[in-house]
Every structure is written in structure tokens, then in C-alpha cells.
């Protein structure tokens, strides 16, 4: 079952085209990894899924992305509503420093003035932090500010914050690139456990990581998709020469 289907997607920064005629489908409740060398457009593609790309001054998108069966680039679709269904974790932890850890987790509700009972809030905070695999580490310091946490802990609270609003899809933009190996290991564990709950699309620079966590792999090069397939097929038996050269480290 396809959760997301991309049709003839093109994207620009000013006059520079960064995505060229992208067509791809992503399966529900699977982990898809987007790999490719720097500047190949993988982050831009990810940011098209929740309509974040168009917020950059001078950026432009053309084409269609279907979430279930609605084109999210249709005129009458409100990007804010799209973003409520598609959560995102960024390259670097970006918690709100003026809010406590607790408030950060429920920020999706809090900043939208959604009224919740105390019990419901506690429940969401605990559930999300458990899902993100950081409940045990922060349960006694929920009233602290995020600056008291390490980078890896902050990143997992970011994951909890994204999960708290119960998105159908979770986008992850190189979520471990700024972290040490132990934090990376923990976050990868978290990602694998989350598969039961959400559809995950992860952009990564790290091919081993793609091989470890993903079910499907998309290889991009110079703004185009070169090859899509199951992760085991891409890594053991790539059909394209370019894919093989990239995963064997001939360039990248």
C-alpha cells in the first residue's frame, strides 16, 4: 500500500533546478531511505513532502505529491494541515529553548492553543518520550530546559515532539549527522521500533545507516532518482552502474 506517491516533481532554488522530474512511491509503515552524494537534492525532496521547501525565499515547486489520495500541492490544500499529518525531525536538534522539556514535547498542541486535560498531556508526554526511547533519561527532569540535555538527548526529544501530534508520516533529515555513535545507535533503534506506528522517510549521508535501518532505498544523483528498490537489493545487487559506484565508494 502506497502512502505517498510523487508525480513529475520539479523544484528550484531561484533559477537553479534542484529536483528533476521525480517519480516515486513510498510504502506505508515502512522505512524508506534517501541516499546520494551532497547536493543531490535529497533534503529538498524531503522538504517537499511537508511543503517546507517553498518557504525558502526564491524556492519553487511544480508537480504533484499524493498523500493517501490527495495531492498536497492542490490549490485548496492548506500547507499547515499537511504538516500536521507529516512530522519532521531535522539535522540538528531544534527544541524551543524558552520552553521546558515537557512543554516542548506537547508543543504541537500548546502552540496551537489546543486545550488538553492535565492527564491527557501527561499521557502524551510519557507515550511520546517512550516511543523516542528517552523517557527513562528525562522523566525526572521534565520541567528542566532543553539546554540541560546532551545533543543526542535533545534530538530524541525532537523525535518525541514530532510523534506527539501522531503524524502519519515522519520525515527525518540526517537525524544523526550531528551526533556521536552511541546516540546514533539509540536513535536507529528508535527508528526501527517506530515502524509499527508511522511511515518513515529518512535522508542519510551514511550508507551503513541506510542499510541498517531501511526497508526501501532511493538513490539520488544530481537532482534525479537513479534507482529505487528494496534496501537489500540496492546494496547487494544494484541495477545501475552509478548506484554501484556510489555504494562501493567510488565517489560520494
Amino acid at each position: 500500500m502506497d502512502k505517498i506517491r510523487v508525480e513529475n516533481l520539479n523544484a528550484w532554488f531561484g533559477s537553479m533546478q534542484v529536483l528533476k522530474n521525480i517519480n516515486v512511491s513510498l510504502k506505508e509503515k515502512k522505512i524508506s531511505a534517501i541516499i546520494g552524494p551532497s547536493g543531490c537534492g535529497k533534503t529538498t525532496l524531503l522538504r517537499c513532502f511537508n511543503r517546507l521547501h517553498e518557504l525558502v525565499p526564491g524556492a519553487r515547486v511544480e508537480g504533484k505529491i499524493f498523500l493517501d489520495n490527495t495531492n498536497i500541492y492542490e490549490k485548496e490544500v492548506d500547507p499547515v494541515m499537511v504538516r500536521r499529518r507529516i512530522g519532521m525531525v531535522f539535522q540538528r536538534p531544534n527544541l524551543f529553548n524558552h520552553m521546558s522539556i515537557y512543554d516542548n514535547v506537547i508543543a504541537g498542541y500548546l502552540l496551537n492553543n489546543t486545550k488538553l486535560s492535565k492527564e491527557r498531556k501527561d499521557e502524551i508526554v510519557e507515550r511520546s518520550l517512550r516511543l523516542a526511547g528517552i523517557w527513562e533519561e528525562v522523566k525526572n527532569r521534565l520541567r528542566d530546559y532543553p539546554s540541560a540535555l546532551s545533543g543526542g538527548q535533545q534530538q530524541r526529544v525532537c523525535i518525541a515532539r514530532a510523534l506527539a501530534v501522531e503524524p502519519e508520516v515522519l520525515l527525518m533529515d540526517e537525524p544523526t549527522s550531528a551526533l556521536d555513535p552511541i546516540s546514533t545507535y539509540r536513535i536507529e533503534e528508535t527508528i526501527r521500533e517506530l515502524k509499527e506506528e508511522v511511515t518513515i522517510i529518512i535522508v542519510t549521508h551514511n550508507m551503513q545507516q541506510a542499510a541498517r535501518v531501511s526497508d526501501e532505498t532511493i538513490f539520488m544523483y544530481m537532482g534525479e532518482i537513479i534507482e529505487v528498490g528494496s534496501t537489500s537489493q540496492i546494496f547487494t545487487n544494484p541495477k545501475q552502474k552509478l548506484t554501484e559506484d556510489y555504494i562501493t565508494g567510488k565517489f560520494g
Binding site: P57, G87, N94
Partner: protein, 277 residues
């Protein structure tokens, strides 16, 4: 350049910069010292609760002027703070292209605009039609002076808020206006509050625009439509008077004003320093 030569040049430059600092500090401390020596001894508690007396009559105070300065500053803040913050938000979050550029440019121009002209301007548009000097006119004039100071500091503080924080909010499905109100402005609050304090300190020390707007009042007054006293105009009147006891009162008032402004500035600096950490 040899090592020795570099060391000499380094010493020389260091000496020059310390010297220039000393020149600046010298005048500051001269003024502070002068005001303190000539003003502090005339300060007594009755000064704060009494209104001025005619020359030669013992006692008298600047209670009305303190209240006046307080009211004028509040009025100025009501105008300057919200509009200033909105300008800062506009040029960063909404303004694209020419209009934002002009807004920024005109804000700069207004910052260095002669304040006496702002006074005359408010005199023409408000005092003349109302046929009376008023606290309201004074507050508006000070508000116009305060506006660009706060707009500039809000602009700079908001510029410092990383894009990644805004994107974090957008990615959670928070609309732009709520993101600005609940993420961007709170994150920039340190710089904005510093700007507000500096703005307040600045308008508290203004005299010229008040001569055209709120004028002066030697009696207790809290009415917005009547002339109102202020510390600066009181100092101006007393200091230029031929009576010794009035001139002493001017020094005492000046000392109080300097303390107030210094206090606000120090609070602002401490606050800014704390936020930076």
C-alpha cells in the same frame, strides 16, 4: 616585519586605544561627579512628595515632575513598544523586497532625526488643534522618538532567532502568525526587552520635544489633556533661573534623572549579558 617591530606596534596601538577610552570615560565621570557633588546634598525625602515653591521659599520639590516623567514615559511606551516590535516583525517575517528595505531605511533615518523637529511636528498636528499643551502630546512625541529605537533592536533580536526554530514550529503544523507570536518573539525577548529599556532611558532624558508638547506644570497633574511637568523641563527651567535655591534644585533633579537613566541602562546591559549566556 620583525618580531620586535610587531611587539612595538602592538604596544603602541594598545596605548592609543587605552588613551581614547580614557578620554571618553573622563568626560562621563566628570559629568557624573559634577552632578553628584553638586546635586546629592540637596536631595531629601520632601523633594519627592512636594511641588515647586517660589524662589526664596524654603522646601519645595519635584514630586509633580517625577509623576509627569512617569506618565509621559508610559504614554510613549504604549505607542513605541507595540509598534516598534511590529516593525521588527514585519521587516523580518513578512517584508520582502522594496517596502521592507524602505521601512528599515526610514527607521534608521528616524533614529537620528532631530527630536526638536518631532516636537514641532506634534505641536502642529496636536497642540494647535487642541489649543493646549498636553501630556498626551508629550507622550506621542516621546513615542515617536522611542519607536525606531525599539524597532531596530527588535529587528536585530528577531534576526538572531535561527530559521531552524521557525521550521521546527512550521513542521508541527503551527501557522506562521502563531509561530511568530509564540516562538519567534519569546526567543527574541532578551534583545527586545533590552531595546525597550534603552528606549525608555532615552526618552526620559528628552527635553526639546517636551517644550513644544507637554510644556510644564508646577502643580500636581495626572490629566492627559493638560500640560504636565517633567524632570527634564524642570531641570531646564531651574538651571536657567537666576535663583540659587532653584539652581541647586536643578542639580538635585539632574542627579535623580541621571541615576534613573543609569539604572535602566545597567539593568538592560545585565539582562542582555545574562541572555547571551
Amino acid at each position: 616585519m620583525s618580531y620586535k617591530k610587531r611587539k612595538i606596534v602592538n604596544k603602541l596601538m594598545l596605548t592609543i586605544s587605552v588613551f581614547t577610552f580614557l578620554i571618553g570615560a573622563f568626560f562621563l565621570f566628570w559629568i557624573l561627579g559634577d552632578v553628584f557633588l553638586k546635586g546629592a546634598r540637596y536631595i531629601n525625602w520632601r523633594m519627592f512628595i512636594e511641588v515647586p515653591k517660589p524662589p526664596g521659599v524654603p522646601g519645595g520639590g519635584i514630586g509633580n515632575a517625577l509623576v509627569g516623567t512617569f506618565i509621559l514615559t508610559i504614554l510613549a511606551s504604549i505607542i513605541g513598544v507595540p509598534i516598534g516590535i511590529m516593525v521588527g516583525v514585519y521587516v523580518n517575517e513578512y517584508g520582502r523586497g522594496k517596502l521592507a528595505w524602505w521601512t528599515k531605511f526610514l527607521t534608521e533615518v528616524l533614529t537620528s532625526f532631530p527630536t526638536i523637529i518631532i516636537g514641532v511636528f506634534v505641536y502642529i498636528i496636536l497642540v494647535v488643534p487642541m489649543k493646549s499643551f498636553s501630556a498626551l502630546a508629550g507622550g506621542i512625541a516621546l513615542g515617536i522618538i522611542m519607536l525606531p529605537i525599539i524597532a531596530k533592536s527588535a529587528d536585530e533580536a528577531i534576526k538572531m532567532v535561527p530559521i531552524s526554530l521557525r521550521e521546527a514550529a512550521y513542521a508541527l503544523g503551527i501557522p506562521k502568525w502563531k509561530t511568530i507570536l509564540r516562538v519567534v518573539i519569546p526567543s527574541a525577548s532578551g534583545g527586545i526587552i533590552t531595546g525597550i529599556m534603552i528606549g525608555i532611558a532615552r526618552v526620559m532624558g528628552e527635553t526639546a520635544p517636551l517644550l513644544f508638547t507637554s510644556l510644564n506644570n508646577v502643580y500636581w497633574s495626572v490629566s492627559l489633556t493638560k500640560p504636565i511637568g517633567s524632570l527634564t523641563v524642570t531641570i531646564f527651567n531651574y538651571a536657567t533661573s537666576p535663583y540659587d535655591d532653584w539652581r541647586n534644585m536643578a542639580y538635585a533633579s539632574a542627579f535623580i534623572l541621571v541615576l534613573l537613566v543609569l539604572f535602566l541602562n545597567i539593568i538592560a546591559r545585565l539582562y542582555a549579558g545574562k541572555r547571551r549566556k
